[in-house]
Amino acid sequence: MNRLDRREFVASLTAAVPDALIVSGLGSASYDLFAAGHRPGNFYLWGAMGAAAPLALGLALAQPDRSVVAVTGDGEQLMGIGSLGTIAAARPANLTVVVLDNGHFGETGMQQSHTSLGTDLVAVAQGFGISDAFVGTDVAAVAERVLARRGPTFAHVPITTDEPPRALPPRDGVAVKNDFRAALELPTF
């Protein structure tokens, strides 16, 4: 399998979809997104494992005219695996879930995860009813889907087990939330 560099992939994807709203799963995915350059349309999770995809779903339903992307790891997505069924049922055309799959729980010491022990996430996503689920090694193909908003889409991105230096996004969730809403011209509450 052709495994990509996670930082390069996320940096090229975010550059190709500058107006997308992006939610990142805890740990490495949040570091990758922040390393690609902070923007107020980014929402970084530092916990709530399993939240990336369903949080992006609520956001996508609320913002149907914006492209919404969840970028997360295999471990994080596995914990929220049922949310792929929830997304399939809700059918948000503007939502793309991107799973950076290194086959391991990298953040906790690189223990093997289910995806290197037999689980095929593309088949899982398709089985849940996301028919546009594919191996997204071509950044341009993923970016095209994000911009086209004819999803929901699931992109499985095999990445190497390399662990680039941590790039730590802000940990103040309230501030990140307020910046994000401000970027959508929404008041704090």
Binding site: A48, L57, G58, L61, A62, Q63, T86, V174, L184
Partner: protein, 178 residues
């Protein structure tokens, strides 16, 4: 799909949907419970509302947070047994101070027949409180509308996190024979 003929819903359930709709709620995420039937049905038939069926309640905590991040009001409907499924996910609400409204039908109390509902039912209120969520409770059908409407104001006007427990007596005895 089979449409099951259902008798008219209890008035308190109709009032709940009215309060949510008039309160500007645009997403209703749920794992079903009989006591939420009417609201779930209406959520799916109202063109201004997204009904979001979940596989587990914790997804709903994240959906509601995402909705609010994108400028929509959302609520989570569940039964008391689902509250335990959400515990770690509740940290999202406190960390980002998301407004959060959940309506919970209680099991494991009034005339309960299924003992498996007991442990989580008895821990429901404390589980919310452990995670910093304010609990209000209603057992009188005449007070449901006001209680839910007041909770909705607390959440969306004051930015709080509130769970409304709908006592099992509201739902009444479950018929086990069929």
């Amino acid at each position: 799909m089979m449409a099951r003929m259902s008798p008219a819903p209890p008035l308190w359930q109709e009032k709940i949907f009215e309060v949510l709709r008039k309160g500007g709620v645009e997403q209703i995420a749920y794992v079903p419970d009989a006591g939420h039937s009417h609201v779930i049905r209406e959520a799916h038939s109202d063109p201004g509302i997204h009904g979001v069926v979940l596989t587990t309640e914790e997804e709903g905590v994240a959906v509601v947070a995402g909705a609010w991040l994108g400028g929509q009001r959302a609520v989570l409907l569940m039964q008391s047994s689902g509250v335990g499924n959400c515990v770690n996910m509740f940290s999202l609400l406190e960390m980002c101070r998301f407004p959060f409204l959940t309506l919970v039908t209680m099991r494991g109390e009034y005339a309960e027949f299924n003992p498996w509902q007991g442990p989580m039912g008895r821990a429901t209120q404390r589980a919310f409180e452990l995670m910093g969520i304010t609990v209000v409770r209603v057992d009188d059908p005449d007070e449901v509308e006001d209680t839910v409407s007041a909770a909705l104001d607390n959440v969306f006007e004051a930015g709080e996190r509130v769970a409304v427990l709908l006592g099992q007596k509201l739902i009444g005895r479950k018929k086990w024979e069929r």
